[in-house]
Assembly symmetry: C2
């Protein structure tokens, strides 16, 4: 009946964090102000959709290639942080936790998921270490079995280059209560005490 609108609501409802109800609410807000809200959003989406590319250096998504981070002269170029996904990269950027460069693997090795080294963005990592003279490679991978396996594998591959390889610390999250933490995290936090 309200076909164009229903189609739009359906697309919104597929976004993470959205259901049919909240999608309807968001679309209603947009449709009430077509000029002020809806067109700008449509045009911003078009601009990004047409121009987004995978950075050939690090694997980040951006409208430029190399991406804004790789092209930024103020970043420490001898410090490369290896992450699984662009979402992880964005999380680290949001936290302003890392001032070097990144390398996005696009996943982790996974025996169950059938993800092998050839499925990850690994081929370009070793050349980067050679040419840029990276002083340190930080592995910021998930604290899961697959994440740990991937970290081991990357560390092995990188070892011959002589680059220092570190991993992000495991421990109690900020604001986290000890009694709700799992045993693995507690043990890791105790072992890594300082």
């Amino acid at each position: 009946m309200i076909t164009d609108l229903d189609h739009l609501i359906g697309l919104f409802a597929k976004l993470p964090g959205f259901g049919p109800r909240s999608a309807r609410r968001a679309v209603l807000r947009l449709v009430e102000q077509p000029e002020a809200r809806m067109l700008p959003l449509a045009n911003a989406l078009l601009a990004v959709a047409r121009n987004v590319k995978v950075c050939t250096v690090c694997g980040n998504l951006d409208t430029r290639d190399p991406c804004g981070i790789c092209a930024d002269p103020h970043r420490e170029r001898d410090l490369i942080c290896v992450v699984e996904s662009v979402g992880d990269l964005w999380a680290l950027e949001r936290a302003r936790a890392h001032h070097g460069l990144y390398h996005v693997l696009g996943g982790t090795l996974s025996a169950i998921g059938g993800t092998g080294p050839e499925d990850l963005n690994l081929a370009s990592l070793l050349p980067r270490l050679g040419q840029g003279g990276a002083g340190e490679l930080i592995l910021a991978l998930s604290a899961t079995v697959d994440g740990a396996a991937t970290a081991h594998w990357v560390a092995d591959k990188v070892a011959p280059s002589g680059v220092r390889v570190t991993r992000v610390a495991q421990g109690v999250p900020m604001g986290g209560a000890l009694d709700v933490l799992d045993d693995g995290t507690l043990a890791a936090a105790l072992r890594a005490r300082r």
Copy 2:
């Protein structure tokens, strides 16, 4: 730094139900699939933004005028439900609670907000009652002071036409526990017992 993307995230973050964090997550999902997700969403937004209009009959928002509801030959044309906003209309449609037509006021009378009868979509209501031979006018307005004042005002205006005016019932919401309900609702629910 990631200007185009940041701009897009900022627009998403302004939507109801979204904050900076969830906006980033939604944009990330879109940007990972520009062809499959982002372009269709952009085009759907453009289509609606270009074509959305206020229905000259009832005040609903749709890409057609008269809107899909007013144009639907299967709706009961002698039953008109008066609502405050298009959001309320959509809520009633979602609940499939009403099979007649609507009339969207665009707000309520409000002494504090400075909303008078001339600010509401009231001028076209009385002619509709005359020509269509509406058998019943249902007032589905908020159970607030302003909503009640508006309902009284509309009922007064409509009285000379002889059309039957009803109001939606107040009472205990479905699944609602009695002990958390406010006194006003409890009293209304008791009074309207059957």
